[in-house]
């Protein structure tokens, strides 16, 4: 039985040339931005040594820039920004909670294990 009451969601993304132009210019802007961020990261990484006092700041900058890059890729390239709010939340929220928890555990335990090893060798 042919169903005429179902919504074909696959067609929802369709748009005309004028809208296409708009989308393309956004894509090019994001490309330039992502490249710039990568160049900045390499520049910082090559010019500031890990032994420097600034290293903690640099680390935080790296992580923030990475999250910014990731945000642009997910929201613009993967179109998650254009999806429904519920879909966005279903994908992002559990991920953030779980990964933040894992990072906390890894760093906390990592430090503890590192300390034990150091005392063992002394």
């Amino acid at each position: 039985m042919e169903r005429d009451d179902l919504i074909e969601y696959s067609l929802h993304g369709h748009h005309d040339e004028a809208k296409g132009k708009e989308i393309r210019s956004k894509i090019y802007k994001v490309t330039i931005l992502l490249t710039l961020i990568t160049v900045i990261e390499v520049f910082i990484g090559a010019s500031i040594k890990q032994s420097s006092d600034w290293w903690t700041t640099v680390k935080i900058i790296f992580i923030l820039l990475t999250l910014l890059k990731a945000g642009y890729i997910v929201m613009v390239f993967m179109h998650l920004g254009d999806e429904r709010k519920y879909l966005r939340n279903v994908i992002l929220i559990p991920y953030f909670i779980f990964v933040l928890y894992l990072i906390f555990i890894a760093l906390w335990e990592g430090t503890a294990v590192g300390n034990v090893w150091e005392t063992m060798w002394q």
């Binding site: 969601y9 929802h12 748009h15 990568t38 990475t66 890729i73 390239f77 179109h79």
Partner: protein, 341 residues
């Protein structure tokens, strides 16, 4: 219950009419897969973070390990990895352009951008092959265990070996013979086995030869494991002192004082786990890129044969696009946590 089948309309099956996410089944499933795959990669990177965090200063630094460029040699910290990142970002852009062309039912545009994406994927895989090969073969100096028990990585310009002049005959070579082939390989092999002594090399056939080698320049020792005299995090040893310490160990005639390159057991960059994580994380990501390229090619064939055009939408391109962007996304994190930090 015959006769009731006529009632199987929208009201009985799905009262809400619109699905809550307003996406097609395929796209939703692709997102679910990507979320689970992202968790796998998070697990790997966090395990890396854990190991690195408890190894502290002994862990290698990205800019020390990855500082070579093809055809250009050493002294370009992180540039090559940045280039790889750029290649992957560009191929992600061509993919999103293919998706956009698909939304306009522009078959020519989709074809063009899909081909560009596949080419970008191959470029990335090629770069990664070069990087692995470089990582496995290692540097000319290797990592050296100094006489006080500390272990150092060595930076600088290695003076070229020009020839070996045979001093004592062996099974193959006669006295006075000049060997000009396969020098570096024989030298490193002998160094690992402890078959070197003050300017002389014991070759595999039992002969002893003099090493004719140009002088090294700007040698620098960076301690990665503390010994009695030199500590991790202490000052770098440079100049004459570095050369003296390096060759003292190299010519000590002991096995395993020097390590070149990397394998699963040991590597010249740092702790054993470092190379294992490198192989596993970049390898697992590389395998994702490889499968992505294969899937992209299959979709490209579908585009060329007009399958999606007949279907009325290019959603298959969008779905593979999601996977391809995800691969780029993972690389962004690998780049930061493995190479930069």
């Amino acid at each position: 219950m015959a006769g009731h089948s006529a009632q199987l309309d929208a009201k009985t099956l799905w009262g809400g009419k619109e699905s809550p996410f307003q996406t097609s089944y395929g796209k939703l499933m692709m997102w679910f897969f990507l979320v689970s795959d992202a968790l796998t990669f998070s697990g790997l990177l966090i395990a890396y973070g854990f190991t690195r965090h408890n190894a502290q200063d002994a862990w290698p630094i990205g800019e020390e390990t990855f500082n070579s460029m093809p055809f250009l040699g050493h002294g370009y910290p992180l540039l090559y990895v940045a280039l790889m990142t750029f290649i992957l970002i560009v191929s992600s852009v061509t993919m999103v352009l293919a998706v956009e062309a698909g939304h306009r039912m522009d078959r020519k545009g989709v074809t063009k951008w899909m081909i560009a994406t596949v080419i970008g994927g191959f470029f990335f895989l090629g770069s990664q092959a070069w990087e692995w090969s470089h990582f496995i073969h290692g540097s000319e100096f290797g990592k050296i265990e100094l006489s006080d028990g500390s272990v150092a990585i060595v930076k600088g310009h290695f003076g070229e070996i020009n020839s070996f002049t045979v001093l004592e005959a062996g099974k193959k070579h006669k006295v006075g013979a000049v060997i000009k082939e396969d020098l570096m390989h024989q030298f490193q092999h002998a160094a690992e086995k402890g078959h070197l002594e003050a300017g002389k090399i014991h070759l595999a056939d039992g002969s002893v030869a003099k090493i004719n080698k140009a002088k090294d320049h700007d040698m620098k020792l960076i301690i990665k494991k503390s010994g009695k005299l030199y500590q991790v995090g202490g000052k770098e040893i440079t100049g004459k002192k570095a050369e003296q310490l390096y060759y003292e160990s190299l010519y000590a005639g002991e096995k395993n004082r020097v390590i070149y390159g990397a394998n699963m057991k040991q590597n010249e960059y740092g702790p054993q786990q470092y190379a294992q994580f490198f192989f596993f994380i970049t390898g697992f990501h590389g395998f994702h890129v490889f499968s992505g390229v294969v899937i992209n090619i299959l979709i490209l064939l579908g585009v060329l044969s007009g399958t999606y055009h007949k279907r009325g939408h290019y959603e298959m391109v969008e779905k593979t696009g999601l996977y391809w962007h995800f691969v780029d996304l993972v690389w962004v994190f690998v780049f930061t946590f493995f190479y930069l930090l």
